[in-house]
Symmetry: D2
Subunit: 421 residues, 4 copies
C-alpha cells in the first residue's frame, strides 16, 4: 500500500513554533518548557505540535543581530555526510550524534508531536568542502547547484534534480525519522522569489522531499514556506505537501491581517483533509525576544479574535507564535475556545459570503448541513452594522451570548462568529 501523505494531517495542524519569540536563538530547555505548558494547558483543545524553527544547526546564531539575522559563512554543525545537526550548545542532549532524538522523545512523552524547520538544499559549506553523501560515491559538490540560493539566508545551495540529490534528501529524512520528527517546515521552497517568471524554482525539490518522506519510514507533515504561495501551482502543492504558506511572514499589523482576507478568498476552494493553505503563525502574547525586543503583540483583543476567527473558519493550520509560559489568561482563553476551534474541521463546507473594503463574511456548514456558522468581520475604521439574512437569533461563539441577527453592531476591526439557531 502506498504512502498517503494526507493521513498524517487529518485536520489543520495546531501547535507552537519558536520563531516569533526566539528567532534563531531557541534552546532545548525553552522548547521543553513550551512543550510542558502545551501538554498541561492546551493539549486538551487539540494543540499538539512543538516546532523548532530556523538555524537550530548554527552555533552562535543571533550573536550578530545588529548586522545579520543569519550570519554568513559561519560554521554549521554537520555530520560527515553533509547533514546538519543541532547546535550542541543550544541543544545539549543532541551531543555525541544523538541529534534531536532525546528532545523528540521528551516531547513525545508529553503526548505531543515534534517538528523542525529546514532550509531547502544542502549546506554551502558541504559543497565547498566536497564532503561525502550517504548512499552515493558522489559528494556534496556534485549535487549542490551553485546558482540556486535563498534570497535571504546564506546557509544552503539548492539540490540538483539527480539520483545523488535524491540520495541526499533520503539521507536527511532517514536521519529525521530516526530522531522521531513528525513535522517538517521546509523553507525557501514554496515561493523562492528567484525569478519574476519562475517563482517556484524549488519545485523538483518539493517532489524529492515528498519522495524522501514517503521512503523514510515515518509519516511527517510537510509544510512549505515562505509565501505567498502561487495559485497556479496549487495542484502541485496539494499533490506533494500538507500545508503551504499563502503569505509572506505574517506579523501583528492590521494591514497584514486585513490583507489575509484577500488571500483566504483566493484559496477558499483549496482546503481539504490533508491540504491546508497556511495563514502563518498566530502573533499573540509575548513576541520578539530573539529579535532583540521582547514585546506584547500589537493586536487589540478585537483584532486577535478576528485573526483566530478567520484562520479557523477558513481552515488554516494554527501555530502559536507566543512564548507559551508567558501567556496571559485572556490570550490563553482565545486559544481554548472549542466552538471556534471546531470550525477547523476540513470536512465543513466553507465559503466567503462577501468582502469589500469595509466588511467581510464567511459561512461554515457542517458536512451534513445541520450546523451553520457565520462569521462577520468589520474591516473598516468605524462601527458597522451587520445582519444575517434569514436568521433571527444566533449564538455568538466567543461570548456565548444570544444575539438578534437583524442588527449586529461591530467595532472597527472586530468580528463575531454566530451559530445559527
Amino acid at each position: 500500500m502506498s504512502y498517503d501523505k494526507n493521513a498524517c494531517a487529518p485536520r489543520p495542524p495546531m501547535g507552537w513554533n519558536s520563531y516569533d519569540y526566539y528567532d534563531t536563538t531557541v534552546t532545548e530547555d525553552r522548547v521543553l518548557a513550551n512543550a510542558e505548558y502545551m501538554a498541561k494547558e492546551l493539549k486538551a483543545f487539540g494543540w499538539e505540535y512543538i516546532v523548532v524553527d530556523i538555524e537550530w544547526y548554527a552555533p552562535g546564531a543571533g550573536s550578530q543581530r545588529d548586522k545579520f539575522q543569519y550570519i554568513p559563512f559561519s560554521k554549521l554543525a554537520m555530520d560527515e555526510y553533509s547533514r546538519l545537526l543541532p547546535d550542541p550548545e543550544r541543544f545539549p542532549s543532541s551531543k555525541d550524534g544523538a541529534g534531536f532524538k532525546p528532545l523528540a522523545d521528551k516531547v513525545h512523552a508529553l503526548g505531543l508531536k515534534f517538528g523542525i524547520h529546514i532550509m531547502r538544499g544542502i549546506p554551502r559549506q558541504a559543497a565547498h568542502a566536497h564532503t561525502k553523501l550517504l548512499g552515493t560515491e558522489l559528494t556534496a559538490a556534485d549535487v549542490a547547484n551553485p546558482s540556486s540560493i535563498s534570497r535571504w539566508n546564506p546557509d544552503m545551495y539548492g539540490v540538483r534534480d539527480c539520483e545523488a540529490g535524491q540520495a541526499y534528501y533520503n539521507s536527511i529524512f532517514e536521519l529525521y525519522a530516526s530522531w522521531g520528527v513528525d513535522f517538517i517546515k521546509c523553507d525557501d521552497i514554496c515561493n523562492t522569489n528567484a525569478f519574476a517568471d519562475d517563482r517556484y524554482t524549488g519545485k523538483h525539490e518539493v517532489e524529492m522531499i515528498a519522495k524522501a518522506i514517503e521512503g523514510c519510514g515515518r509519516p511527517m507533515v510537510l509544510s512549505l514556506s515562505p509565501g505567498p504561495a502561487l495559485i497556479d501551482k496549487a495542484w502541485h502543492y496539494e499533490k506533494f505537501a500538507n500545508m503551504w504558506r499563502i503569505t509572506d511572514d505574517f506579523w501583528d499589523r492590521w494591514d497584514l491581517l486585513k490583507d489575509m482576507f484577500t488571500r483566504c478568498e483566493l484559496w477558499e476552494r483549496h482546503v481539504s483533509a490533508g491540504n491546508y493553505p497556511d495563514c502563518d503563525m498566530l502573533t499573540l502574547g509575548k513576541l520578539g525576544k530573539g529579535f532583540g525586543a521582547e514585546r506584547d503583540c500589537n493586536f487589540t483583543p478585537d483584532e486577535q479574535k478576528t485573526m483566530l476567527s478567520l484562520w479557523c473558519i477558513f481552515g488554516s493550520p494554527l501555530m502559536i507564535g507566543a512564548e507559551l509560559t508567558l501567556l496571559d489568561e485572556a490570550t490563553k482563553k482565545l486559544l481554548c475556545n472549542k466552538d471556534i476551534l471546531s470550525l477547523l474541521d476540513p470536512y465543513r463546507i466553507r465559503r466567503q459570503l462577501y468582502r469589500d473594503e469595509d466588511k467581510a463574511a464567511w459561512e461554515s456548514k457542517s458536512h451534513d448541513g445541520k450546523d451553520r456558522v457565520v462569521a462577520l468581520f468589520n474591516l473598516s475604521e468605524e462601527e458597522r452594522v451587520f445582519t444575517i439574512p434569514g436568521c433571527e437569533k444566533a449564538t455568538e461563539l466567543w461570548s456565548g451570548e444570544s444575539v438578534s441577527a437583524s442588527e449586529i453592531r461591530l467595532s472597527p476591526h472586530a468580528c463575531g462568529v454566530y451559530r445559527i439557531s
Copy 2:
C-alpha cells in the same frame, strides 16, 4: 426566498452555439434547423441549449469580412430605449417589436432552451445619439463610459456603476425575459484585457447583470466571456455567474488543446453545482462557413475524443460548434456517449492525478465513492504506455472494451477513459 443563481444550472450546460460555424451570419432558419436536429438526435443525451452568438442585432453583419469581422459605425437594430433588437433581415419573426420571442417559443416547443450572446455595455450609437433609457430620465449618454470599450468589437461602451446604469441593465433583461431567454453569454466581461494591472474592468457590470437577472423574473444561466478568466477573481465569478471561460477563443489546434490541460489543472477545485469553468466550444464537425471558409475540424478522431474526455471529466460546459445538420455519424456518436457525458455530474469528485509534457491523468469518483473512472491522456508525439496502479481490469468507456490496466498503449494525442472494475 431569494433567487438562487445556481438552481438553473444543476449540471454543466450542454448545447449548441452558432459562432464556430456562422460567425456573425447566423439566421433564424439555421437556428431552427439546428434546434430541430438537436431535439431529434441529441436531446435524449442531455443536449438542450440553442445559443445565438454575436451581432444578431447587426444588419449587414459579415458583409465586409475581407476588412472587418465587426463592421464599425454601422447602424444596429435598436428600440427607442437604447436596447438592441434582432436584425429583422436575418430574424424575420422578430419584426414589429416581437424580438426573439417567436424564435424562442419555437425552440421551447421542441423541448429545448434558448440563449443569446450579448456584449457588455450600451450601444455606442445610443450614447452618441443621447437616446432614452427605460425607467430613468437620464439618457444613454449619461450611463455610457466613453473610456470603456472592447478591445475587439466596436459596438458598445461600458456602463457606469450608477443607478441609471442599473436601470439600463434591468431594462434589457426584462426584455430578454419577455422573449423567453434562458441563457446569456455575456462577452467582453470575463477578461476585458483593458489594463495589464486590471483585467477585470467589467467587474461592476457582472454584479449589475446578476442583479438584473435576479430581478427580471426569469431564471437565466449567466456565462462570461472571453477568457482566460482570472484565477484571483474566481470567488467573484462563482458568486455572480454560472460559467466563465478559462481560455481565450478555443479552436481546433493541438497546441490549444494541450494547453487546456494546464487550465483545467488550475481550475480543478472550482467546479461545483451551478459553477463551471468553461473550456469553450467543442470544435467538431463542419466549421467556419461564416468566416469565409467552410471546413472539417482539424482534430483527428483521437484528438476529438481527447477534447471531449477532458471537458467531461473536468466538468466543463459543452457547447457544440458544428453545424448540426451536417454532422457525420462518427462525430455524432462522440456526442452521444452516455458514459462519458455522465462524468459531467458536478457532484463527482475529480482531480488530476498527474501531468507533465508527455502524459496526463485524471480521476473521477462518484460522490459515494463507489464508481471510479480514470482518464489517461497521451500528450506526446509518440506512443506511450500507461498503467492504472492498483487495478487489473478496466472498461474503456469510448470503446466499451475490457482492457488490462497494467499496460495501456495510447497513440500520440489519444486518450482512454476507464471505469475501474
Copy 3:
C-alpha cells in the same frame, strides 16, 4: 529642397500655454490679453509662443467640472469635412468659417507666434455620423479606428494608417496653415498608455502628422504629449517631432520636481537643435482657475528657481503656465534672467555631473568651451554644503553675486547657478 523640421525650432521654444490656468475654458480675449502682456514684457527675453490648449472646439467645455473634465458625447464644433473648429462662443472671431485666422493674425501682429493643441485622431462624432473628408471619397467612418481611443479624453478615434487617413491629416494641417498656426501640441500620442507592451500606438500617426506638416506649406513646431516619452522610441521622436514630453502632466509639487532630475539624466544626450525633451509647463504665478480653484503656485521661491534652472541647463522648452496678466514682480523677474535663459542654447555642451537622493549638479559649456556654468541643486530637506572642484571664485547667475566656490551652502530645495571665472 526638402522640408527641414528642425529649422523652425533652432532653440527650445519659449512661450505661454493656457492649460494650467484655464483648463478647457480659455477664451479669445484672455488669449489676447496674455499675448499683449508677452509682447510688452517678455518678448525681449525670447518668449514668443502663445498656445491655446485643449478643447477649444468644445462648446460648453468646463460646464460640468464637478463630473467631467471633458464632457463625453457633447457636440463639437466641426466643419463639413470632419475638421474641428473653434467654439464660436469662446472665440467669437472664428465665426463664419474664419477659424483661428483672426486671432492668429492679432498674435502675429504683436510679433509673436501662435500655437494650438490638438488631440490625435478624428472626432468620434464624425465617425458615427459618417461625415465627409476632404480629398477622398471615403468618410470619417472609414479612417476612424474604433479601438483606438484616448485613455482620458472622449473626443476622438485614432486614424488608421491608410491613404484616406493621410488625406484627413493633410486636410486639417492645410486648415491650420491657412489660419497661420506656428506650433502644434499634439496630445494622446507621445505615450498613449494603451497597452503595457506597446505604449506608442500612435506611432504611425506621428509620421502622418509630420508628413502633413511637411506638405502644408507652413513650418510648424511639432510638440508631442503626454509623457513620459519612451526612451526606446527616442530616435523616432527625434526623426519626426521637435519636442516630446518626458513626464506625465507636471504640477507644482516637490516630488514631481525632484523626479524631473531623474528624467533629465535619462534624456541628457537627446537635446540638439530642433530636438527637445520637454519637461512640461512652468507652474508659476497664478494657476488653476479653470479647474475651479484659482491659486498661487505651491512652489517656494527657491523651488521656482530650481525648476527654471533645471529646465534651462537641461535644454527643455519653456512654456509658462501662469495667467500672465496676474504675474507678480518676483515671478516675472525669474522669467527675464538673460543669463539663465541663455543656457537654453542647444549648442551648449551639457551633462549631469552627479546625482543622488540629496544632491545634483549639472555642467553647461559653450560650444567653444570658453564659457562654463555649473548648477548645484540641494534635493534634500536640510542645508547642504557644495564645492565646485578646480574653481575658486564664481558668479551666481540668479543673484549676480560673486561667491567662493569652495564652500557653497544651499537651503533645502534651493539651487545656485555659477559662471566659472
Copy 4:
C-alpha cells in the same frame, strides 16, 4: 589633476579576445601567437588590444565541458590576500608570484596592449575560507555578500559597499597595475539580471572599481559585461566606464545581427570619446574550439560586411573573436579596410537615417561636415533597391567602386557604405 577615465580610450578600442575561439581554455602560448599575428598583420590598421577572457584563474577549466562551462566548487588559483592568480598550468610564466606580468611584458614588447577579464566580486572560496585581505584587518567573509551571485558563473560573491570592500578592489587593481594590465573586461556587472526590477545590482561595484582604477597608478580601459545594458543607466555607465555591452553574448546568427540595428538605434546618442556602447565581439573566421566544436563562422561574406559596417559607423569597440593565426585572406581583408575603420572616430556625427523590418540606413559625417558617408543595409530576405537622396555618384568603401546613387541594388543581408562625392 584628477584621473580622466576617457583619456585611455580616445577611440573605440580595437583588439582580440580569446573567448569566441577558446572559451575557458586559452593558454599563454596561444595568447602570444595571436599577439604576434596582430603585431605583424593588424597593428598598422589600429588593432592593439590582446584580451584574455574568462577563468584564466581556474585550473582544469574546460575539462568537464559535457556538464559545465564553469566547474563549480573547483579550487581557483589565489594568493594569500584572496586575489585570483593565473592558472600556472596554462600560464607557465605566471609561476612564483609573477602573475600576468611576463605575458603582459611580451605583449607590450610587440607594441600592443594587454587586457584581462574579471568577474565582479570576491572568490566564494575566499569567503568560505575567511582568507585575508590586503590593507584591512577584516577577511573575505566580511566583504562577501552571500546573496549576491552571478546567475551563470559559480566563482564569486559580490562585494559589499564598505571600506573593506573598497580595500579589496584596490588590492586587485594594484596587482593588475603591477602586472601591466591596460584593459579590464569586468563581467556580471553591466546587467546582472538579478531582479526584474533591479538589473543593475552591481552598480556600487562599478563605482568601487572605477575608484580602484583611479587609484592604482595605471590607466585602464573599463569594459562592462554582459548586456543588454540598461538605457536608463546610461548616465552611470558613461560616468564610470569606457564601454558597456548593449547586447547579451553576440554570436554569428542573422537574427542577432539584425537585432543589433535596434540596439544601435537605441544607443545612437551615447557614443563619444571615451564612451562606447559595445556591440560585442566580431564573430569572424575560426570559432568555437574551446566549446568543443571548432568551426567557421556562420555569417556569409555579405553578413560579415554588414556586421563590420554597422559596428564601425555606429562607433562600437571592435574585438575580434577569431583565432587570428587561422585567419583566411578574405576575412583578414575585412579587418584591414582603413576607410571603414576610420568611421570609428568618435568625433564623427552619426545618426540612423531610417530603419524598418526591411531596410536601414546610417549617416556619418566628419566633425567639420566635409566628409559624408552613408551606409545602406538590406535587412530583408530579397534583393532591395536603395537610393541616396541628393546624391548622384558615390564611392563604395568596401569595393572602392564608384556607383550611381540613384539605384543601388543590395542582396539580402548585404550592405554598402558610400562616401558621397
